[in-house]
Amino acid sequence: MRTETDKFHPEFHSEDAGYCHLVDRIADVWGPRTPHERETNWPVRVDQQLADGLGESDVDRWVQSACVLCSNGCGCDIAVKDGRIVGVRGRADDLVNRGRLGPKGLYGSWQAHRKDRLIRPLIRRSGELVETDWDTAMREVVHRSQQLLAEAGPLSHGFYTSGQLFLEEYYTLGVIGKAGIGTPHMDGNTRLCTATAAASLKETFGADGQPACHADIDLCDALFLFGHNMAATQTVMWARVLDRIAGPDRPQVVVVDPRSTPTAEAADVHLAPLPGTNLALMNGLVRALIERGWIDEEYISAHTLGFEKLKTAVEPYTPEHVASICRISPTDLLRAAEIFGTSQRVLSTVLQGFYQSHQATAASCQVNNLHLLRGLIGKPGSGVLQMNGQPTAQNTRETGADGDLPGFRNWDNPEHVEQLARLWNVDPLTIPHWAPPTHAMQIWRYAEQGTIKFLWISATNPAVSLPELSRIREILRKEDLFVVAQDAFSTETTELADVVLPAALWGEKQGTFTNLSRVVHLSEQAVEPPGEARSDLDIFLDYAYRMGFQNRDGDPLITWKDAEGAFDAWRECSRGRPCDYSDITYERLRAGSGIPWGGERLYVDGVFPTTADYCEDYGHDLLTGAQTTPTDYKAERPDGRAFLKAAEYTPASEQPSDEYPFLGTTGRTVYHFHTRTKTKRAPELQKAAPEPWVEMSAADAARLALADGDVVRVESERGGVEVPVRIGRCRDGVVFLPFHYGFQAANELTPTEWDPVSKQPLFKISAVRIRKV
């Protein structure tokens, strides 16, 4: 079978070297090594998985796509036979994965499609959800929506979306929310996974956008992973790192993580700070760099603002002081600083260990600062990836489905609001811009207080993924809250909705999405959705049509009818902004395999999007989240220079006590994604990790007289779960729970608290106690 791929890389169409068909990516998560040296291309290795008993010759068609089970966005082709998806294969020429796929991609991406899908709309009648037709369901939604708009106005409406839809769907939703209804209450569950990535990029560089690229892994001399268990979260990206580590001139690896993970085991230096102390550690690293003179003064004076303030702010963070706060060795801290300070090319990645913890944005900004201090940004092998968690989270942020204005526009800049009003031909006053958009946790709070009465949830399962679940379930059950849930499967959330809309999955619809290194992929429709399921785009378009949203001339507000039309509208919207898609078309995406917006790397010239009329945000005080006013921002004359922002470390409010002596932290397993909606339907993945557990150190287990497999009750002030113990590699005093499971859910334990700047909830730190049951 030949694919589009073959046209461009004839060397890949044979079954010879580099092909790796018989894979057991459960036992061997990262696959066989293909070592290479610095500045050589990452070798191709094509991974493929077909349904049992099928060979390549049985496949009717291969359809271009990319995997949507993590933010790496590996290019793949979907195998179709008799109108059904029967497997996947990595795309050899893709710049992200060069043919590889990990366990979730191989097993989880396609096997869920035919299992327990929602195939008809549901509507609540006398307390029960019953099947209905689309017209009845949509009429009910529109009726409630119009009634509330008339009675209570736009602020009665809230939208809670996902990090897993396509760009076209988010943009359409964004326009509906901002120009159709005019509500600031829109956010994605991306608030839980990548809000801090966006916030730290805006604070430092003036706009969102990952400076580095995947190829920097092939080029770097040192790799720093801050709170990022890459081996579990982005397995193919980690395979790329392992191939450098196995090569002749391996980069030095530094990992910051309170657990001893496979990522940490590969490290030259592993720093395991107590949960909640990241900022102290980072201030210590910044201080060490300055003190040792491992900084590029020319770069600092030409391209940054705030060096003196930063220097003063980090002054108290001597290695000994940091060591006492974080309980790490001062020698290790200095060793890490030395690797950062003396390696020629440094790549850093940051993820949930920072984003979902105390002082998230402030700590993540310090990673940016380390790079700015050495001028190691926008250069081959050097830069920062403030990682995304979910596959399409980048698009939630770009298009404004997270509440921001589309195209990284600044809500506090009237000219940016004008631009959108002109583009959409609406009154600028319709577009909510009197305050920052309402973040997810606040949307739920308004629903709890009864001022949001209409909540539309798309492609996400908040009844498992949000903190303090008992509260979330109570809100969803409220009589005066009308809940629309749009999903491909029945979930803990759809069970509580008033109307359930069955949605198409990846492979059943067309659209684009952008990965953690700004690489855009087109995912084509391979098969028809089951039953009456529709694409999320079609559902939003139907709602817009039925609501009769109009522009100033009385014409329909939304003029597009399909994915490509939505994408073209988005290209116009993004034109001239930092995330400019205007030269990316479906045609070009089809012709290659992944195109980054903004070029391979951002900030090659050291010019940052901080000019006052261009920046996405005027920034915040990192300690409290207080906004910088436009006047104050302009007075600083950033004019293309990046901000070296700082904050002092303050102890987290959750601290271990006599009653709750352990610090509980949550995270992922390599085999599941999010709340397992898809991965639990892949037998291989489900078998590998069927149920939740709690991981603790051998010493702690011994103290509580616990053996591997003993069932314990883990309790915080908010709730408890009963799970078996795994004696693992946590540091003493810290226990770990995976968050994917809807039963015995880790989020029963977590507090409702969030970072002051990014508003990302803190999942990484709850005081808990443990007893045997």
Partner: protein
Amino acid sequence: MHLATYLGLLHTSLRTLAEAFREVAKGHGEEPDVQRTCEVLAARIDGQVSKLAPIVERYGEHREPEPERLHTAEFDQTRSGGVGLLRDLQDLYALSSFTDITWTVVGQAAQGLRDKELMDVVSSCEQDTARQLAWLKTRIKQSAPQALIAARG
């Protein structure tokens, strides 16, 4: 010298302000960000009080029996609901503005006295107070539309 009177006023108003932030934190636990930030800001105001201590030692302080404009009693009982939160934050804003302008007055005196130490204290505390005001304004702007328009009854 009337500086002692102003130092006394400052001292009392800072204590009142810290107390008020703590009351609001306690009364609005359902708004976790308000609770947390008010606690952080209260702790920083305590820090301002300690920075003031050596200055007070040098110049003395004269405390008026009851600074008439500071009614701490208001904060014994925080309000509830969206509008209640708004009002409490607004009261904090008024108190915080009072300390802000008091620092300004003391700062002018410091310049006149060419007291470098006092000038430094004033400048760092003024920044801190600006941060309080900026946060309060941010949070008030965020809450106002929902509280005033969307809430019924």
